[in-house]
Amino acid sequence: MRTPNPTARKSSLTRFQQRTRRIRHVKGARHLTQLAVAVLIVVAAVRHQVEQDSGAASVDALCPFGAMETLLTWLTSGALITKIHPSNLVLGLAVLVATLLVGNAFCGWICPFGAVQDALTWVRGKLHLPALPVPRGLDRVLRWGRFVVLAVILYFSYTTATLWFADYDPYVALFGLHWLFEPDNSTIWIGLSILAAVVAASLLVERAWCRYLCPLGGVLSVLGRFSLFRIRRAPTTCTDCSLCDKACPVGIEPSKAAPMVSPDCIGCMDCVTTCPVRGALAVDAPVLLGTPIRLGSGSEAEKR
C-alpha cells in the first residue's frame, strides 16, 4: 500500500483550504498553550491552599508583574515587598527578555487571565451576544487606563512596601481560589467585585481588561516598541480587505499599519494567518525601533 505524501497532499489543497488549516493550527496551538499554563496555575493555587505549611507557591509568586510591583522598593532598599519572592523577579526578567527579542507573545499565548478573556469571547459567540463597538477615538483614550492603573499600583506598592494591588487584582481574585477555600474571608469581595465587572466588560468588548486596564499589558506594549520581531504590513501588496482587523482580539487595525502593527499587539498571529494575500502581513525580523534592518536585498514580503 502506498503511504500518502504530505507535500503532495498539501499542494492538492486550494489556497483557501491551506489558509483555513493554518488558522486552525495556530489557534489550536495557542489555546492549548493557554490552557496548559492556566492548569499549572490552578494546580499551584490548590497546592498553596491545601498544603499550607509546605511553602508551595501562591499565584502571587507566579506572576511576572510582581517584579514591577517590587521594582522601586528593590532598587532603593534591596528588599522585596511582602508576598513577592525571587520567582517574581525571574519571571519578570524572562518576560522582559522574550518581549524585547520576539515581541509580546506572553499576552496572546501564556497569560492565564488573557486565556479567561478569550474563553469569554468564545462564550459570547456561543450565546450570539453582540460585541460592543468602541469608537476609535474613545478606544485610544481608554488604552491610557493601563498606565494610570500602573502608576497607582507602583505608588502604593512602594509607599506601603506591600503587595497592595493583590486585594484588587482580578487575576488573584480568580486564580487565587480564595473564593473556594476561604469564602468567609471578607477581604476577597473587593477583588471578586472587580473580577465580576471585568467579566461583564469582556463579554461586551473582547479582552477589555487587556486593552484598557492591565498594567502588565501596558508595560509590555512599551517594551514591544523595542522588539526585534514585529508584524509588518506591505502597503503595496495589501488590498485593504480588513479581514485582519476582524481577527484581532485586542482591536488593533493591522490593515492600517504603516508598516509595523501597533506595539499593543499581543502576538496571537491571527491577523497573519487570516490574511488572504500572500506577503501582505508577515512577521519581520530583525527590526530596530520599528525600522526593518535589511541584511540582504529586501524582505521576502516585498519580493512577492
Binding site: A29, A61, T82, H85, P86, W109, G267, V283, D284, A301
Partner: protein, 107 residues
C-alpha cells in the same frame, strides 16, 4: 526578513520556562518566604513572618504565647488562638499589620 509565525510564541514559551528551569537548577527559584523552623531555635523580631502561628512565634521569641496573644489582640475579642497565623490576625484585628507589630516589639 520574513519569519515564521511560530518563532515568537515558541521563543516566548522557551524563554519563560527555560528561565524557571535555570533558576531552579541554580537555586534562585524561591516561591515562598517560608523556611523550616528548627525546634528550640531563637528568633529575632525581624524573623517573624505572616505564615507563622503565634505559638511558633512565641516559642521562637522565648515568651509565653498568652502574652503574645495579648499584645496582638489587647481586647481579646478577635478569637485569636495559639494556632492563628499572623496573616490571619490581619483579617481579624482591625489595623493589625505584621510590620507595625515588629516595630512595637522592637520598642
Amino acid at each position: 526578513m520574513k519569519t515564521s509565525v511560530w518563532v515568537a510564541p515558541v521563543a516566548s514559551v522557551v524563554v519563560l520556562f527555560g528561565s524557571v528551569g535555570i533558576a531552579e537548577l541554580t537555586g534562585v527559584w524561591e516561591v515562598s518566604g517560608r523556611t523550616a523552623l528548627v525546634a528550640g531555635e531563637q528568633l529575632g523580631v525581624d524573623d517573624l513572618k505572616g505564615w507563622m502561628t503565634l505559638q511558633q512565634a512565641a516559642d521562637g521569641l522565648g515568651m509565653p504565647v498568652a502574652e503574645l496573644i495579648e499584645l496582638v489582640d489587647p481586647s481579646g475579642n478577635a478569637g485569636i488562638t495559639p494556632d492563628t497565623a499572623f496573616r490571619d490576625v490581619e483579617d481579624h484585628v482591625e489595623g493589625f499589620t505584621i510590620s507595625a507589630f515588629r516595630e512595637r516589639l522592637r520598642r
